[in-house]
C-alpha cells in the first residue's frame, strides 16, 4: 500500500429504483486498492458486492461519490468513454464464463483484440501465448462445449488477460465450478496475476476462495464492515478456516 492506489473509491453510493421503492445497494463505500494487489470482496447475497464490482469496472454509473482508476474519474465518463476505458485498462471474468459457443478457445481469447483493431495474425499469436500461460495449449481448437467447466473458465481468464489490462475484475469466477476445480482455477489465475504484477479484484461468497487474496473486503448492507490482510505464509500451510475465526 506504499504505492499510489490504482483504484480509489470515495463515499460511493448506488441507489436502484424498483417501482416506487429505492433500494440502496451501496451506502457510502470507501476503498483503495494498490497496483498488483489481489483483492477479494466478500459478503452475503444482497450485500452489494456485485454492484461494487460493476461500478468499479465502469459497467454502471454510481449515484453519488467518486471512483478513480489510474487517476481517471469513471463517474464523469459517458458510456462510450467507459467502453474505451475498459478496452485499454480492464479485463473481465464472468461467473458463467460467457464464451462465444461458436468460436474456438483461440478465437474466443482473440475476440477482444478484434475490437481494438489488432490484425488477425497478431491477435491469434497473442491469444495462443496467453492460453499457453494458462496451460491450455492443447485445447486451442476446441469449442467451449468440448471443454470442462474449469477449462472454460481458464479460457475466460485468458480472454480477460489477452489485452494485457492493468486490472482484472472477476465476478464469482468459481461460482459455477466444483471445489476441486475452483482451487485449480484460483491457483492459475492468482499465479498469472502475480507473475504479471497486475491487480485482480474479485467478488465471491466462498471464504475458501477468499483465502487466495492479499486483502479481503467484507461488505454488509452496502457498507464495508471489515478489511483483513492475509498472511500468505500461513495460508499456504494452514487450513483456511482458522484464519477468519
Amino acid at each position: 500500500m506504499e504505492a499510489a492506489p490504482i483504484i480509489e473509491a470515495r463515499n460511493v453510493k448506488k441507489v436502484y429504483r424498483v417501482g416506487s421503492v429505492d433500494i440502496h445497494a451501496l451506502r457510502g463505500v470507501d476503498l483503495a486498492i494498490s497496483p498488483g494487489e489481489i483483492c477479494c470482496i466478500v459478503g452475503r447475497s444482497g450485500s452489494g458486492k456485485s454492484t461494487l464490482l460493476n461500478v468499479l469496472a465502469g459497467l454502471e454509473h454510481v449515484t453519488s461519490g467518486e471512483i478513480a482508476i489510474a487517476g481517471k474519474r469513471l463517474d464523469r465518463m459517458t458510456q462510450g468513454e467507459l467502453i474505451v476505458f475498459r478496452q485499454k485498462h480492464v479485463g473481465f471474468v464472468f461467473q458463467s464464463f460467457n464464451l462465444m459457443p461458436y468460436y474456438t478457445a483461440l478465437e474466443n481469447v482473440a475476440f477482444p483484440l478484434t475490437f481494438k483493431g489488432v490484425p488477425r495474425m497478431k491477435r491469434e499469436r497473442a491469444a495462443r501465448q496467453t492460453l499457453t500461460e494458462l496451460g491450455l495449449e492443447t485445447h486451442l481448437k476446441h469449442k467451449p462445449a468440448q471443454l470442462s467447466g474449469g477449462q472454460q473458465q481458464r479460457v475466460g481468464i485468458a480472454r480477460a488477460l489477452v489485452g494485457n489490462p492493468d486490472i482484472v475484475f472477476a465476478d464469482e469466477p468459481t461460482g459455477n465450478l466444483d471445489s476441486a476445480t475452483s482451487d485449480e482455477v484460483m491457483k492459475s489465475i492468482c499465479a498469472v496475476m502475480r507473475e504479471r504484477r497486475k491487480t485482480l479484484v474479485m467478488v465471491t461468497h466462498d471464504r475458501n476462495m477468499a483465502s487466495y487474496a492479499d486483502r479481503i473486503i467484507s461488505l454488509l448492507d452496502g457498507r464495508v464492515v471489515d478489511i483483513k490482510v492475509n498472511d500468505h505464509s500461513r495460508a499456504d500451510t494452514d487450513t483456511t478456516e482458522g484464519m477468519h475465526e
Partner: protein, 430 residues
C-alpha cells in the same frame, strides 16, 4: 475494429442462423425481383414507344416553321403569326450550339411522265452538302447535281416511285402480267408542273401551258431514310430555277422558306436548341415533343408498376427489421458480453447494420439474377402481346444499391437498440 473484421464477424453472425438468414434474404429476393420486373416492363414500354417514333423520323431533327403561335392569355385562343424564315435566319440557326446541320425544306408537287404513264411526285430540294448530315441514304446512285443543261434535270427518285405510275386515261397501273412495274429507273422521264399538260382540263386557252423538262434519275432514296424516304430529291439551285420558270403553277417563294429542318448533335441537345429557336420567334416541332407527351403517360404507368413491386419490397423490409429485432432479443447477453469485452458503441451498431446490409446485398444480387431470368422468360412468352421487359444495367445496379439502402434503413432502429443495451446483461446469471 478493422473493417475486414467487421465484415467477417457480421457475416458469421448471420451465417450462424442460416435458416432465418436464408428466409429473410428470400424475402428480399422476392421484393427486389418484383420491383425490377415491374420497372423493366415500364422501361420496355418506353423503349417500344421511342422505337416507334424513331421509325417515323429522326429523333434529333427539329422542324422550324415560318409561323409562330402566341398565346399570351394561355387560354388556347392565341394567334398564328407569320414570321420571315429566310437565308439569314437559316444562318443564325446554324450558329446555335448543338446544331449539326440546317436545311431549308422546299417542297414542290410535280408530275412525271414516262410514255403513256404518269405519277405525281413530291420533290424536296436538298443541299447536297447537308444531305448526308440528315441521314438521307440512297439505295443506289448519287445525289442530284445542280447541272441543268438544255432543260435536262437530275433527280433522285423517292423509294418506290417507279411502281406508282399509271395511265391517266384508263387509270390502270403500269404493271405487266407478273405484277412487275413497266417503269424502271432506266426509262425516259419528263417533268412538268402544269396539270393541264396531263389531264387537259378546260382552261382559258390564252394562258400559256407549262413546259416539259427532261428528267434523268441519278439514284433512288433508301427506305431507311426516315421521313425523307418517300420524297424525290432535286438540287436546291435546280429547283429554284424551275420554280422561277413555273411561277404560275408552283407558287414557291424561293426567298422565304416554309420549313427548315435542323439536325441536332444528340437527342439531349434537341431541347435546348428547340428552346433557342422558339426564342428567336419561330414555331418549332420535333418528335421529341411527342415522346415527351407519351413519356408523361408512360411515367405514370411506371410509377404504378413500381408501386406494385414496391409493396413486396416493403414487406421484405419489414421482414428484415423483424429478423434483426428478434436477433437482438436473442443476443442481448452476447451484446452485453462484447460490450464488457470492449466493443465500442459504434462497432455494435456497425455489426448490426452490416448484417442488414448483407441481407440487402444478397437479396438484391440474387433478386437481379432471378429478374434477368424472369425477364427473358416473359419476353419469350409475351412475344406478341406488345409487352416487353428490359433491364438496363443502371436498373440492375440501382436495384442492388436500393435493396441495400432499404436493408440499412430497416436495420437502423434495431442497431440503435443494440447499441443502447446495457453491458450488465452479460453479468446477470440465468
Amino acid at each position: 475494429m478493422r473493417f475486414i473484421d467487421l465484415l467477417r464477424t457480421a457475416f458469421l453472425n448471420l451465417w450462424r442462423r442460416k435458416l432465418r438468414a436464408v428466409l429473410t434474404v428470400l424475402g428480399m429476393v422476392i421484393g427486389t425481383c418484383s420491383i425490377v420486373v415491374m420497372v423493366s416492363l415500364g422501361i420496355g414500354m418506353r423503349q417500344a414507344m421511342i422505337d416507334s417514333y424513331a421509325q417515323m423520323g429522326s429523333l434529333t431533327n427539329i422542324t422550324v416553321m415560318n409561323w409562330k403561335y402566341s398565346d399570351p392569355a394561355g387560354d388556347g385562343m392565341g394567334n398564328w403569326e407569320e414570321v420571315k424564315l429566310d437565308k439569314k435566319a437559316v444562318e443564325a440557326i446554324r450558329q446555335l450550339p448543338g446544331v449539326v446541320a440546317v436545311m431549308p425544306q422546299i417542297t414542290a408537287w410535280g408530275i412525271v411522265k414516262s410514255g403513256r404513264y404518269v405519277t405525281d411526285i413530291s420533290i424536296m430540294a436538298i443541299d447536297t452538302e447537308q444531305a448526308a448530315a440528315f441521314d438521307i441514304k440512297l439505295e443506289s446512285g448519287d445525289f442530284p447535281s445542280s447541272r441543268s443543261s438544255g432543260g435536262t434535270y437530275e433527280i433522285v427518285f423517292g423509294n418506290g416511285v417507279t411502281s406508282y405510275f399509271y395511265d391517266p386515261k384508263t387509270g390502270k397501273q403500269a404493271v405487266d402480267r407478273d405484277g412487275n412495274s413497266k417503269i424502271t429507273i432506266d426509262s425516259r422521264f419528263q417533268l412538268t408542273f402544269d396539270y393541264n399538260n396531263i389531264y387537259n382540263y378546260e382552261t382559258d386557252p390564252s394562258t400559256p401551258r407549262g413546259k416539259f423538262y427532261k428528267l434523268v434519275p441519278s439514284g433512288v432514296v433508301s427506305a431507311e431514310s426516315n421521313e425523307f424516304s418517300w420524297y424525290c430529291l432535286m438540287d436546291i439551285e435546280a429547283l429554284e430555277k424551275l420554280a422561277k420558270e413555273n411561277e404560275t403553277f408552283m407558287n414557291i417563294d424561293t426567298k422565304n422558306y416554309n420549313q427548315v429542318i435542323v439536325k441536332c448533335e444528340s437527342t439531349e441537345a434537341v431541347k435546348s436548341v428547340k428552346a433557342a429557336i422558339d426564342e428567336m420567334g419561330y414555331g418549332t416541332n420535333s418528335l421529341q415533343d411527342w415522346i415527351e407527351q407519351s413519356e408523361e403517360q408512360i411515367q405514370k404507368t411506371q410509377y404504378l408498376l413500381g408501386a406494385i413491386g414496391g409493396v413486396s419490397l416493403l414487406v421484405a423490409a419489414i421482414g428484415i427489421m423483424n429478423t434483426m429485432m428478434m436477433s437482438i432479443y436473442e443476443r442481448t447477453k452476447e451484446i452485453g458480453i462484447i460490450k464488457v469485452l470492449g466493443c465500442r458503441m459504434g462497432n455494435i451498431a456497425g455489426l448490426f447494420l452490416t448484417e442488414s446490409a448483407y441481407i440487402g446485398l444478397f437479396g438484391g444480387a440474387i433478386g437481379i439474377g432471378l429478374s434477368y431470368g424472369i425477364s427473358t422468360a416473359l419476353n419469350k412468352l409475351l412475344v406478341n402481346s406488345g409487352l416487353y421487359s428490359l433491364i438496363p444495367v443502371y436498373l440492375a445496379v440501382g436495384a442492388v444499391a436500393f435493396s441495400m439502402v432499404v436493408a440499412l434503413v430497416s436495420g437502423f432502429y434495431p442497431a440503435i437498440r443494440a447499441m443502447r443495451l446495457s453491458p450488465l446483461a452479460a453479468i446477470r446469471n440465468e
